[in-house]
Amino acid sequence: MTRSQYTRTEDMTARFEELLQQVRLLNALGYDSFAKGNHYSSDPFYEFQQLPLLCRLMADAPDMRLIAGIVLLALHKPLEIAEYFATMDVMSGGNLVFGAALGYRDVEYKAFDIKKGTGVKRFEQNLEAIRRLWTGERVNMKGDYFELDNASVSMPCVQNPHPPIWIGANADVAVDRAARIGDAWYISAHHRKDTLYRQVEFYKRCLEKYKKPYPTEWPLRREVYIADSREAAIDAVRPYLGLKYSTYHAWGQSGPMPQGDTLGLEFDDLLQNRFIFGNANEVAEEIIDYCRLLGTNNFITSCQWPGMPHTMVMENIEMFAKDVIPKVRQGL
C-alpha cells in the first residue's frame, strides 16, 4: 500500500522520485500488487491523487497488479469511473483491482455536491451502473443523479467480465452491503482484531444469506513495521503513524467504525490488536494467525506514514520480502 501522504513541508518532486524507487523495488522483490487510497483536500497532508499516481507508477511496476484501494464511489459519476478504470485495466494488461467505499468527510461530500443521507444510494446505484457498463454493450439506466441513455464505455476491460470489485466496509451494515454487492470485503487497516473476528463471522453469514460464494481472493490490510523488537518498531514509527491516525480521527474516520471501537485513542492504546509490529518472526507469526483465523489470503501491508524517511521504507520493504514472506508461505 502506497499511501503517498506527506507533511506539508516536503519537496514533493523529491518524494515522487522516492515513490518510483519504492515501486521499482517492490516489482524487483516479487510483491504481487501495490495499492493507493483516495482522499481530496488532504490538509494537513500532501497527497498524490490516486488515479494519476496509479497510472504513472504502473510504468515502473510492469509485473504488479494495481489496486485502487479504495475509490470514494459515492462522490463520482458511474460513466466516468467505468471509463477511467477500463482504460487502466487495458493499459496495465488486465492488472487492475477496483476497490470502492463510501467515504465520510464533509469537505469531500460538499465539494462533490453530495447531500447527507444520499451517499449509500449513490454508491449502490453507481456500482450497479459500473457493472452494467463493464459487462454490457449499450446501457439504459436512469439513476437519481445520472442517466445512461444508450451509453457504453469507450473501451471494454481486459479482464472478463471486469476487474475484481473489492468493497471497503467499517460498520456491520456496510459489511452486509459488501457481501451483497462486492466480489470481496476489503478489510481495512484500522479494525481491531477482536472486532474483525466477530465481523468476519458476520460477513460469512451475510454471504450465505445472499447465496454468494466465499471470495476466492480475500484481502486484509494492516499497518506493519519490522525492527529488532516490538518496542523498537513502535518507537521507530510512533511520530509518523501517530500523526496519521490522529488526523484520520479528526477527519471523522471513527464515525463509521463498528460499535465499541474508535481511533481517538492514545497511540499505545491505538496500536493494541490493530497494527503488526515486531521482529520478522513475530510479524510473520501474526500474519499467519490472521490468515488462519479469518481466512484472508491476500495481505496488503503499508509501511510508510507521513514524514517517515524514505530509507526506513526501503529497508522495511526489503526485510518484509526477504524475512517475512518466506516464513508466512512456509507457515500457511
Binding site: 514533493m12 460513466l79 466516468e80
Partner: protein, 338 residues
Amino acid sequence: MKYGLFIRGQYRANETNMNARFEELMEQVRIAEQLGFDDLISGMHYAGYPLQQFQLIPFLSRAMAETRHMRLITGIVLLSLHKPLDIAEQLSSMDVMSGGRLVFGCGLGYREVEFKGFGTTTKERVPRLIENLEAIKKLWTEDHVNMKGSHFELSDTTLSLKPMQKPHPPLWMGANADAAVRRAAEIVDTWFINPHQRMDTIERQLQIYKKALDDFGKPFPDELPMMREIFVAETRDKAKQIARPYLEEKYKVYHQWGQDKAMPKGDDNLDLDFDELTKDRFLFGSPDEVAEQIISYEKRLGVTHMVLGMQGVGMPQSQMLDSMHLFAEHVMPQVASA
C-alpha cells in the same frame, strides 16, 4: 514554431487487442520525443461508441513515464461535466509528477450522452465551465478556499497538492462559436484553435479574439496554438490517398455526435464530401507543401504552436510512424529556416 503530437487514441469498435494498440501508442510517444516534438496532447470523450478511446487523464499520466521533455496537454477537459476539486487535484498531481510539464486545456463539450451521464445539461454547461475554472484557479493558488457554486461547495478546502508551476499550469481553452472565443479571451491564457474550422473562419474569429483581449485589457498571448489534421507523404495525392479512409471515418462519427452544432454559422457542416471537407481545413501534402502552409499560418494568423493529429481511426502504426518521421525530418527544418 512549436509542435505537439495529438494522440487521439481512437479505434474501431471491432478492434479487439487494445493492449497491443496501447503499446503502439507508447512507441509513438517515445519516437515523438526523440524526433523533437515539444508537446504530447490527447482529448476527452465519454461513451465514444462507435469508437473506442483511451481516457485522457489515465492516458496522459501513464504516457508521462515515456517522456522527459515534452509538455503534457489536456486537449481538452470537458469541464462542465466535472467537479472543480476533482480536476484541480488530478491535474496538480500530474504537474508535480511530470516536473511541471502540464498544460490545462478545457472546453465545453456538446454531446447529450455525456451531459446526461454526468447528471447535467447543455443549458448548464457555460455557467458550470466558468465557475469550475474560477474554483480551480482558487484551489491552485490559495489555501482554505471557501466558495459556493451552483453544483459544489468548497468549505475550508485546501488542495492535497498544489501544482509545481506557479501560480499554476498554462490555461488553454477550445472555442468554436464566437461567444466562446470571446470567453477564451476573458478567462484563460490562450485560445486553442480547433482542428475543424476553415481558414477564413479562423481569420474572422481571430479579429473577435483580439478585440476581446483589448476589451479585457489583456495582451496578445505569447502562445497561440492551433490544431490541424495532418498527413505527410511524398506527394499531396499520396498523402490524401493514405489518410482519407481513416479521417473520413472519424469525421462521419463526429458529425453523427453533433460536433457541427457547436461550430460557427456558415462553417457548421462536417457532412461534406472529403475534398470539400479537407479544403482549407486539413494539412495534406509533401513536406514542402505542408511546410509552406504552416509558415502561412504563422504569418497570417500569428500561430506559434501546431498541434498535429496524424492518426485517423484505424490507421496502421507503420504509416503513422512514416508520417511522423517525414514531418520531423523534412517539415520542421523547413519551417525553422523560413
